[in-house]
């Protein structure tokens, strides 16, 4: 136990427990649904959670700083639409540029949120509740009710969702899935090893202290929102590739879905703790539930009720688990020893490099 405690932090245990929940869910559905354990099921779930995973990654960065970004859905819509119209206009446009356009636009919209939150000192929920409406409104005006249609898009984009990077024992790893995974891995590594990104946790954990010890709180907040916007932009591009047809509806509701993924993924909604990997698991959890419920032989009308209940149970069960662990940790941790060791004699021994 002690070794465990030294090397696994409660948050990680929470993720393990979530992983366990997912496995349980899969087992349960597997027993209910014929032909469940197939590469097909894997592909379905994998490609259905791609977009939400990317959005949730951005959402996580924001939530870690004790903020929230409700405008992601509208940003996805705008970027998907804009990138779509651009690609429709210039078929020759290289993929990289297209992605860049979407990401850049997303980053720009995110930066507006960031400025208002960091320097305008407007609570995040107010800012993004506002931009949620504003961005969507702009999209409706800008689109002039025109729809981006699949046939107007270059073939490479339309086919993108079906392209595999690798096939592992029948499990096709689609490009988009790989992309999402890449995003998760990159940001997971960044948030756990980059000194800068550790400060996301710091300001989320104790904003006052962060300010007092002179962390660049405002810049960090701003960055978080820009990244969230940029990732929403990327998600917008993926959205365009997957659905081809982009109406003004595109991406509506993603804000709450991403928050759901983040919450289920064990990220503390009040900031400071949680991981990108966790919220990916959250997204996968919900995706698995949705996709599997689609296939169950139950009425359309029962799905939402069940989904809501399952999400709640997911949150509840792992909250309970985590609290138990926290107690355990708290008790065995942090014993002050009575005898005091002498200070090292050598100069500068304890001063940092």
């Amino acid at each position: 136990m002690n070794w465990l405690q030294r090397h696994i932090r409660p948050e990680q245990v929470r993720e393990l427990s979530l992983l366990l929940l997912i496995i349980v869910a899969v087992l349960v559905f597997g027993s209910l649904i014929p032909r469940y354990y197939t590469s097909l099921t894997f592909n379905r779930i994998a490609s259905s959670v791609v977009i939400i995973t990317v959005v949730a990654a951005g959402q996580t960065l924001v939530v870690l700083t004790r903020s929230i970004d409700l405008s992601v859905g509208s940003i996805v819509g705008c970027t998907a639409y804009f990138a779509g119209t651009q690609l429709a206009a210039h078929h020759g446009m290289p993929p990289a540029v297209a992605v860049l356009i979407a990401v850049a636009l997303g980053a720009f919209m995110g930066s507006l949120n960031g400025v208002l939150v960091a320097w305008g000192r407007v609570p995040p929920i107010i800012v993004t509740l506002g931009t949620l409406a504003i961005y969507r409104g702009i999209l409706i005006d800008y689109s002039g009710a025109k729809t981006v249609t699949t046939d107007s898009l270059p073939a490479w984009l339309v086919d993108l969702p079906t392209v595999d990077v690798a096939t592992v024992g029948g499990l096709e790893i689609r490009v988009v899935v790989a992309a999402a995974l890449l995003v998760v891995i990159v940001f997971q590594l960044a948030t756990s090893f980059l000194t800068v990104s550790r400060r996301l946790y710091a300001i989320g954990s104790n904003p006052e202290a962060a300010a007092l010890i002179g962390l660049p709180t405002q810049r960090i907040l701003f960055t978080a929102f820009v990244l969230s916007g940029a990732l929403s932009g990327l998600a917008g591009f993926l959205f365009l590739a997957r659905f081809g047809n982009i109406t003004v509806e595109a991406g509506r509701g993603l804000e709450l879905q991403s928050v759901a993924a983040v919450v289920v993924g064990g990220v503390n909604i009040f900031g400071g703790s949680g991981t990108i990997f966790g919220s990916m698991l959250g997204a996968v959890m919900i995706g698995t539930l949705e996709q599997s419920l689609f296939r169950l032989q139950i009425s359309e009308f029962w799905r939402d009720a069940i989904l809501g209940l399952l999400i709640l149970l997911a949150v509840a069960s792992d909250a309970v688990i985590l609290n138990r662990l926290r107690l355990l940790w708290a008790r065995t941790d942090l014993k002050l020893i009575a005898k005091s060791a002498p200070l090292p004699a050598r100069e500068g021994e304890v001063t940092a490099p």
Binding site: R198, Y201, L215, D333, L336, S340, V350
Partner: protein, 534 residues
Amino acid sequence: MTGERRLKPLLMRVWEAEGVSLTEGGAEPRAQAAVPPILEIHDIAKRFGATQALEAVSLTLYPGEVHALLGENGAGKSTLIKIMTGVYQPDRGEIRLAGQPIVIGSAAEAQRHGIAAIYQEPLLFPDLNVAENIFISHQGRGAVTNWRQMFREAEEILAALGVALDVRSPARGLTLAAQQSVEIAKAISLNVRVLIMDEPTASLSAHEVTQLFKLVKDLRDKGVAILFVSHRMEEVFEIADKVTVFRDGRLISTRPRGEVTPRRAIADMVGREIGLLQPRAPVKQGDLILSVRGLAREGVFHDVSFDVRRGEVLGFAGLIGAGRTDVGLALFGIEPATSGTIVLDGKTRNIRSPREAMACGIAYLSEDRRQLGLSLPMSIAANISLPVLRRYLDRFGLVRTASERATAEGFRSRLAIRTPSVDVSVAKLSGGNQQKVMLSKWLNTHPRLLILDEPTRGIDVGAKSEVHAMIGELAAEGIGIIMISSELPEVLAMSDRVLVMREGRQMAIFDRAEASGERVMTAAMGQALTGEAA
């Protein structure tokens, strides 16, 4: 004069307890003249709206010198500190570092200049692990965190501090003392030339204080200039080379330690004479109120047994984290005991919630008045009426603010709460007055048993003695009092009996007569003394 006579033996006792003899330490002032000053503060002024926080303050810090800064809350100490650490900008005056005028625009800049501060309330990040907290404000540790290295260095520093913490575990749930140690580790991990300590001992127990002082002296000998702010006379006079006193934003006096007595300093601080810490006159004790047998909370404390009589003050001594507060919380039903019996006025009670505790006439003043004891944004009146709000409702369930305010006014005059009105939000009050409001709040529940957890933490000398006097009166009125305190002198002076705890276990109970500094300390440190062990 009489005060002087009473004071002397007390301080003696304390110092012995802390393993300090009167001759040793910085008693003979070390030659300072040769060394050039490291930090010179010249004619600093700062005004907030109507209040002049600092006026024409000049202060000079020398390397290898501990400079104590005394003053009641609101005297301008923390404003000066905030200016030195770049949180505030002065309206006037200049700061010279090693002779060069500097502008400290931000906390980060202050660090770059080698100026670090340890605040009264630790500024930790509960979700980051201990090591990260230590190195959080380090520039140039590289863009990529090398965890292994960071953990190792953190462990070294803490080892040097004589504190064993799991550097990998999050700071959430650390005891105040542990947090304080991390703060100190944080400060010394930076190459400090000037270290500001704003009441670093406020939440430390006597033992940890001695430990801290070893460290401070070590830093001093390494040539660090230390500005040491504290309300604890005996500490100041143990550690300081120079003593500066502030009052109302002005510098009253700066003297070498040899040339000033505690009494003199206090006189400067409050502008009037105050006797400090005379042992409380014991009141004749009445019948039994509370008797606790084998009380335990699984994994936190075990087998605690004691009695409290009417008019008795039972002191709880011990190191921070010894489980004293947890006993209090168990009695008050915040974290109910898992075994043992609580007998109140002859009836066995099973207390599961604060409400039940209150119903039994128990009141508990938290050690953390800002987070747990008071609702800061609310008015004084609202805070005082909160626990017994029902008493102030008319038949429609609406709050009768008039009678609420009347009650508040009563306590305001009785406890001399300094405030323009009882409608002021508690946040605006000084620590001492906040403490009084919290006391009023609980007296208003007419308790039979009053549990005081660190009743004088972080409040200035004037308020302190008032609180002590108050405790005396309450005991005299026949209330049974449990006083948890990490200030040994306080415990010794106030208590009729002293219960000592260590690592969740009850080590001993001393009667007033036999309770001496070193006996209590030894018990708190380990080996239970034969005889009085409960």
